[in-house]
């Protein structure tokens, strides 16, 4: 038979209460018995003492009739079995009766000896009889004594009655204990039943109102914990739904795999890209969905030691056999004692990006082949005309040819800048790094730009040098940057101005400063100085700008060399560009 918590609790508490009651009852009976015995004995002793006191005068006067009356009165006392008064020799005067059969008899020898030397009580026990003997003195003269037999037989009856009463109290105590246990159990199990009912409702997906927290004890804590659990469960359910919606609406493909790479989940984007349902994808290995990145045997082999990988370009294999380029990032899910739970693979379709890149490359190729090559031919032909290969063209002809040559050079620079910029964008530009002394490179750049300065009546002044300074650079690319900055300073300087160039070593850096006395960079344009094709709206700027790619190319090259380029400017005063390159020493 199954006994529920209620039954066990009642039985347990009842057992404790009854056991407590039994022990308490037993102790009470024992204490009461001891008390009864003590009281009875003390009563007998007290009575003997009182009788002795009452008998003193009569003993002194030898008034036996009075002694007889004293004993007669004593025999009427409860539990007194017999009493005698005796003389100093221990011979009985009277036993209280007229017949007095005990007259002249000697009392017990031990009692005689006791009263001869002590007026203390002599207490003797024999079965249920207590005999108390008390000497009677008048001053120091022994007159005799009193010997009283006291029944303790009534004690057993009193004890039995006491035991019955105590047992009755114990029984009432036990009944009350069981009732209390039942009430206590009800108080404990009722909230538990509510929790059980609520738990079942939760398991069945029903809405559960918060349980009442009636007490501050463990039961109350249970109810509060249950309420907290249901609240969090609801929050978790809401969060999961929210997360599901996020995953299903995100544009990127998301595939979750188990530790062995088996697909456990795929979102709508992944399914759409793969041309399959989630049910078709789940259970397949991720290698069946993603081709191995270049250089790896499978997608998961490309993982870093921490279980992650970013920026892997590979292809997603659709159900129709199509290969869609994707950029994949992988992250390992939380570690568990058994290891990683699995992986989250996020793949972005980069078909469009590759297509654009391809178009850009095609554009560069087209510029290179369809614009730069013919332009070179055109500039060469115009150069020949300008050189007089076709004879004297006349003043008008020479002016037209000079103008054509100038614009063709300008177009050639623009094309070259565009090509350089594209190379930098796609990382196709090659750098041949080597440690070189900086000053010759700077001087070479100044030398290369001096003709352009002369053309604009601008002189370069290298007013500060850093002999011996060495840098790890591609000298040609650095000269390209410096000439760009120098020619830029020339364009923004007025004729007759001096562009100051200084080379210094500062805190592990080598700085090349190029300062002009131009109009300064307008406030609102300063953030766009290094943007491609950036041009200020001011009129004096439009006429002085180059192709619009020079500063952005310079910034990209310097950063590739591990340095930075920045400027200080003040409108109306001038601008100083700082090119900082790590000092090799």
């Amino acid at each position: 038979m199954r006994i529920g918590l209620r039954g066990r609790f009642i039985a347990f508490v009842s057992a404790i209460v009854i056991a407590f009651g039994v022990v308490l009852t037993a102790l009470a009976v024992r204490v009461q018995n001891d008390r009864l015995r003590h009281e009875l004995d003390e009563r007998g002793k007290l009575l003997t003492t009182v009788v002795a006191n009452h008998a003193t005068d009569a003993l002194a006067l030898l008034d036996v009739s009075q002694l007889r009356q004293v004993i007669d009165d004593t025999l009427g006392q409860e539990n007194v079995l017999g009493a005698v008064i005796f003389d100093e020799d221990g011979r009985v005067f009277t036993d209280g009766s007229v017949e007095n059969p005990s007259r002249h008899q000697l009392i017990d020898e031990a009692a005689r000896q006791h009263v001869a030397v002590s007026d203390a009580l002599l207490v003797e026990f024999s079965g249920d009889v207590m005999t108390v003997t008390k000497a009677v003195y008048l001053g120091d003269r022994l007159l005799g004594g009193v010997r009283l037999s006291y029944s303790r037989a009534g004690l057993a009856e009193d004890q039995a009655m006491l035991a019955r009463k105590t047992a009755l109290v114990g029984a009432v105590f036990a009944v009350l204990g069981v009732l209390a246990a039942a009430l206590l159990t009800e108080a404990v199990t009722r909230p538990l039943k509510e929790v059980i009912a609520a738990t079942r409702a939760v398991s069945e997906g029903k809405s559960v109102p918060a349980l009442q927290v009636r007490t501050a004890d463990e039961i109350g804590e249970l109810a509060a914990a249950f309420n907290e659990m249901t609240r969090r469960l609801q929050e978790t359910t809401v969060s999961r739904d929210y997360l599901d919606r996020v995953l299903e609406t995100m544009g990127e493909c998301l595939v979750v795999t188990r530790r062995n790479g088996t697909i456990a989940r795929a979102n709508n984007a992944a399914c759409a890209l793969a041309g399959a349902t989630e049910e078709e994808l789940v259970g397949r290995h991720c290698s069946d969905l993603f081709r191995a990145p270049e250089g790896y045997t499978s997608l998961l082999h490309a993982l870093n030691p921490d279980g992650s990988a970013q920026g892997l370009e590979t292809e997603l294999l659709t159900n129709t056999g199509e290969e869609i380029p994707v950029l994949v990032s992988i992250a390992a899910m939380d570690e568990s004692p058994e290891g990683r739970r699995g992986y989250v693979i996020v793949a972005a379709d980069i078909s469009e990006r590759l297509r654009v890149e391809r178009q850009r490359e095609e554009f560069v190729t087209m510029i290179h082949h369809e614009v730069r090559t013919p332009l070179t031919a055109v500039r060469g032909a115009i150069g020949l005309l300008d050189g007089g290969v076709a004879g004297d063209l006349g003043e008008t002809g020479r002016e037209l040819v000079a103008n054509a040559l100038r614009n063709s050079k300008r177009m050639e620079r623009l094309v070259n800048d565009i090509l350089v910029s594209r190379k930098l964008d796609f990382g196709h530009m090659s750098f041949h790094l080597q440690e070189v002394e900086l000053m010759p490179v700077v001087e070479q750049a100044i030398e290369a730009t001096s003709a352009y300065g002369d053309e604009h009546e601008i002189r370069f002044d290298l007013d500060e040098t850093a002999p011996g300074a060495r840098v790890q650079v591609d000298p040609d690319r650095l000269i390209q940057v410096l000439t760009n900055v120098l020619s830029n300073a020339v364009r923004f300087s007025a004729a007759g101005d001096v562009v100051k160039v200084g080379v210094t070593r500062i805190s592990g850096l080598c700085r090349v400063a190029v300062a002009d006395s131009g109009p300064g960079i307008p406030e609102k344009f300063r953030d766009q100085v290094f943007e491609p094709f950036a041009r200020a709206d001011e009129a004096n700027w439009r006429n002085r700008s180059g192709t619009g790619l020079g500063m952005s190319i310079s910034k990209a090259i310097i950063e590739e060399l591990g340095g930075t380029i920045s400027f200080d400017t003040e409108v109306g005063v001038g601008t100083t560009f700082h090119i900082d390159i790590p000092d090799s020493e």
Partner: protein, 314 residues
């Protein structure tokens, strides 16, 4: 007729209690009255404990009254007085019809009131009793003559065997006795001092413990009291025997009632009910006739009255 002077013994105390059934006034004093079914017969007694005395007399009186219906007695009364003199007055005034007591009080009353001795009362199987005068065997007192200058203990002042009889006997030998309150009092060498122990047991122990030189108790009690220590005692004197108790009636009581009373008392020990009543009446064994007549019964007593009359009158 015996006439005795009225003697007051104690404080005035007369208690009258009725017992038995029937209604009717007391028997008329002086003169013969016809028996009436509603007649009353009154028993008198001397005691300082009237309640106890009434309890002792009541069953006896009820039984007797139940037997006197034939002579017109339907109810009994008990009158308890606290002195002999009052009893004399009650008898003289006709308020007591029957008086039962030991010989000396009866003799004293008989000298002062008109009474007739009717019967003798046996108690505890004995019709007569005696007193003994005793001393410690080692006291050096060899005879009553040696008691001069010494102290003797008697029982109660009213006790025939404990006081009146032994005192009279000692006095009759020529000893002069004086009453003392303190046992240690100095007694002149030509006198015998006496005091009352008020209890036979007291008397015995006073002698055994040498509180007094001698004591006197009923002979019947002596052996029982002495018990195992009897060898420590020596009897100096044993008095002559006297009737234990006497029943006397007022002379003016209806002779028919007197006769019926005599017959009733004489027959009580013959039936079981009557014997039981007698047993409860201070262990009375029976009543019998006065052998030799009242004069012979009181002859010895009257001879001793001179020695104790003063005591009886106190």
């Amino acid at each position: 007729m015996i006439r005795l002077a009225a003697v007051l013994i104690g404080a005035s105390l007369i208690v009258v209690m009725a017992c038995g059934g029937g209604a009717g006034g007391p028997a008329e004093p002086g003169g013969i009255t016809s028996p009436a079914p509603s007649g009353v017969i009154t028993f008198g007694s001397i005691s300082l404990n009237p309640t106890h005395e009434h309890e002792v007399f009541r069953p006896f009186v009820s039984h007797v009254v139940s037997r006197l219906g034939g002579v017109g007695i339907g109810r009994g009364r008990i009158v308890v007085v606290d002195s002999i003199s009052k009893m004399v007055e009650e008898l003289k005034n006709g308020r007591v019809d029957v008086y039962i007591d030991s010989p000396f009080p009866v003799a004293f009353v008989g000298k002062r009131a008109d009474i007739d001795l009717l019967l003798r009362r046996w108690k505890r199987g004995s019709d007569t009793y005696r007193s003994v005068v005793f001393a410690r065997a080692d006291s050096g007192v060899e005879s009553v003559a040696d008691l001069t200058g010494k102290m003797i203990a008697f029982g109660e002042p009213f006790s025939t065997s404990g006081f009146l009889m032994p005192k009279a006997a000692l006095a009759s030998t020529g000893l002069r006795l004086d009453n003392y309150e303190d046992a240690a009092a100095s007694v002149p060498p030509d006198r015998v001092g006496y005091l009352f122990s008020n209890d036979a047991e007291n008397t015995l122990f006073w002698v055994l413990k040498s509180k007094v030189d001698a004591g006197a108790v009923n002979e019947d009690y002596f052996k029982g009291l002495a018990g195992s220590r009897i060898s420590e005692l020596k009897i100096l004197l044993t008095t002559k025997g006297v009737p234990r108790n006497l029943v006397c009636v007022r002379q003016s009581l209806d002779p028919l009632v007197t006769d019926a009373l005599r017959k009733t008392l004489l027959g009580m020990d013959k039936d079981e009910e009557g014997a039981a009543v007698l047993k409860g009446f201070e262990e009375t064994s029976k009543f019998d006739l006065l052998l030799g007549g009242p004069e012979q019964q009181l002859a010895g007593i009257m001879g001793l009255m001179q020695y104790i009359e003063e005591d009886l009158g106190q």
